[in-house]
């Protein structure tokens, strides 16, 4: 077996991948070709560095190898097309590299940043944006991404290829983005990172030993984005939200993968390092003065993380924050959480009344979360038979296995106690 790259070298590769791609794109513009070349250079590094050692200038090494691959590929393509069309030979590219590598005046930061925005090109579907972001910005291999989403590698490879074609046919492959473009696309980038995080957070995990941890990846990429955009408070808000949520991950599932709700979690298992980092990032973001939905959600997560128990949680403050959040976005899930916070402050009857108001929203009326929230509040008011009915209804509607198991068990436990007492 060939020696493997150690973790720090792997991290270094993933960190360098977007910068190398940014550099190549600036010179050659061809997104699909550059992307393939960068992947090949990463594979070459993974094979050569363990025996030859990490080069003194790893970024320069990757750029040189990727450029060589790209020129080889373009030469081959050109030879094929030569009869039709004698296009510019890219042979001088080999010389260009000496000139351009780390040349002064080039804004490397913007180049790397633009990769994030390109991966979230509006012409791409959400699943393509996610895959491309992990590949291009995250520096993951197609195989790693495929395993993370539990789809065959061929399927993921095809999704990535189509995504690259879509970007190229949508216009210039690597357009110069204006400040306005960047501002307009930032929410899409943040959303993609949050979706990647949620995918990792909500899957049960544990079974798949070789499965990459998507939550960790999302956090890593969000950290990189914050380095590039330190003055955008919502980037900090998103990173803080991820850290403050991820802090509870170990306490969130039981030995059989079943979901453990917040009020039953062993709080000493929460990751204090994550919590303090999240709070630091959040404070910095809030200090920048422009509040947004990610910062508000992070602030709510921080209040939960700080509380020694459900009873000792600052629910009035959480309710106030949900009021702010609901004003930011017309998100039915935020309204649902607000109703639960209201129940914690004013009692379950008020919460149930708020849920009745929300139930007319067609996005919520048949959603399992509505039934689950009703079930919890009905249980708290002592209406156990109705609660059991709602828990079972929610279990029938959810498509998440740990969540379904949790809801079924919750109904069964209540039913057991009803049977015993009758």
């Amino acid at each position: 077996m060939t020696p493997r790259l150690d973790n720090s070298a792997q991290d270094l590769l993933r960190e360098l991948a977007p910068t190398v791609l940014g550099t190549l794109l600036r010179r050659y513009r061809n997104f699909g070709g550059c992307e393939d070349a960068v992947q090949e250079s990463l594979i070459a590094a993974a094979m050569q560095w363990p025996t030859q050692g990490v080069p003194d200038n790893p970024k320069g090494w990757l750029i040189t190898v990727a450029t060589r691959r790209l020129t080889d590929q373009i030469r081959a393509d050109t030879a094929r097309r030569l009869r039709e069309h004698l296009v510019v030979s890219l042979i001088p590219a080999d010389e260009q590299i000496a000139l351009a590598a780390d040349a002064a005046g080039v804004n490397e930061r913007d180049e790397t940043l633009d990769l994030y925005f390109m991966c979230c090109h509006p012409a791409l579907s959400e699943s393509s944006q996610i895959a491309l972001t992990l590949r291009v910005v995250g520096g993951l291999t197609t195989g790693e991404i495929a395993r993370a989403f539990l789809v065959p590698e061929g399927t993921m490879a095809q999704r990535l290829t189509r995504a690259k074609h879509t970007i190229e046919s949508a216009g210039r492959s690597f357009p110069e983005l204006t400040a306005d473009d960047r501002a307009a696309r930032l929410p899409a980038v943040l959303k993609v990172l949050y979706l990647i995080f949620s995918e990792g957070y909500t899957t049960s995990g544990g079974d798949e030993l070789c499965r990459l941890d998507l939550s960790d990846e999302a956090i890593r990429v969000a950290r990189l984005l914050l380095q590039l955009l330190p003055d955008r408070p919502e980037v900090g808000g998103l990173l803080a939200l991820m850290l403050l949520t991820d802090a509870r991950r170990a306490a969130r599932t039981g030995p059989n993968g079943e979901l453990i709700p917040l009020d039953e979690q062993v709080r000493s298992c929460w990751n204090q390092e994550r919590i303090s980092e999240g709070k630091r990032v959040l404070e910095r973001a809030l200090g920048q003065g422009v509040v947004g939905p990610y910062q508000v959600q992070a602030a709510i997560a921080a209040l939960h993380d700080e509380a020694p128990s459900t009873e000792a949680t600052d629910w009035p403050q959480i309710l106030a924050l949900y009021d702010v959040l609901v004003r930011f976005q017309d998100n039915p899930m935020a309204s649902l959480s607000r109703a639960i916070a209201l129940a914690m402050v004013n009692g379950p009857a008020d919460g149930l009344a708020a849920l009745d108001v929300l139930a007319v929203d067609p996005r919520l009326s048949t959603h399992h979360r509505l039934a689950a929230a009703r079930a919890h509040l009905l249980e708290r008011t002592g209406r156990h038979a109705e609660a059991i009915d709602q828990y079972r209804r929610a279990a029938q509607r959810t498509t998440n296995t740990p969540e379904r198991d949790y809801l079924l068990l919750r109904a069964a436990r209540l039913n057991d106690s009803l049977v015993r007492s009758s």
Binding site: N256, E258, R392, Q396, L409, N415
Partner: protein, 134 residues
């Protein structure tokens, strides 16, 4: 050779897990997880999925222009597919043994459910003996 093991459960029959006591649900879930883990560790598991309930199922047919015509109401059937495993094993007997193990998943009171598991071989490419000269 690959086999698909299908767990068809009768609607309204004993596999109405929602009505079981909590301890029995927990035991059943633990059995299923452990079962998949064992198959995976043995290198026999190709894939396994549980399906959401039949009340969310739709019947879809192509319309005149190829557009999907969705039938919202699923016809009452005696059985529905609750989930499946695909295993890669050396002999059909091994596939049957795995199916029997799944069939004995614990139900109410910890008693084996003895559900009927449908075992079907997955079609594959030609075997050596039908390639001339191989």
């Amino acid at each position: 050779m690959k086999y698909m093991l299908m767990m068809n459960v009768p609607s309204g029959g004993p596999y109405q897990i929602a009505g079981w006591p909590a301890a029995d649900i927990t035991a059943h879930i633990a059995f299923m997880r452990n079962f998949a883990r064992k198959l995976s560790a043995a290198g026999e598991l190709v894939g396994a999925e549980g399906l959401s309930g039949p009340d969310q199922a739709k019947l879809v047919r192509a319309g005149a222009g190829g557009e999907p015509i969705t039938d919202g109401v699923f016809p009452e059937s005696k059985e529905f597919l609750a989930g499946y495993w695909i295993v890669d094993v050396d002999t059909p007997e091994r596939a049957y043994a795995i199916a029997a193990e799944a069939s004995a998943a614990p139900g109410p009171g910890g008693k084996p459910l003895n559900l009927a598991i449908e075992v079907r071989q997955v079609m594959s490419g030609p075997t050596d003996d039908c390639i001339p000269g191989a």
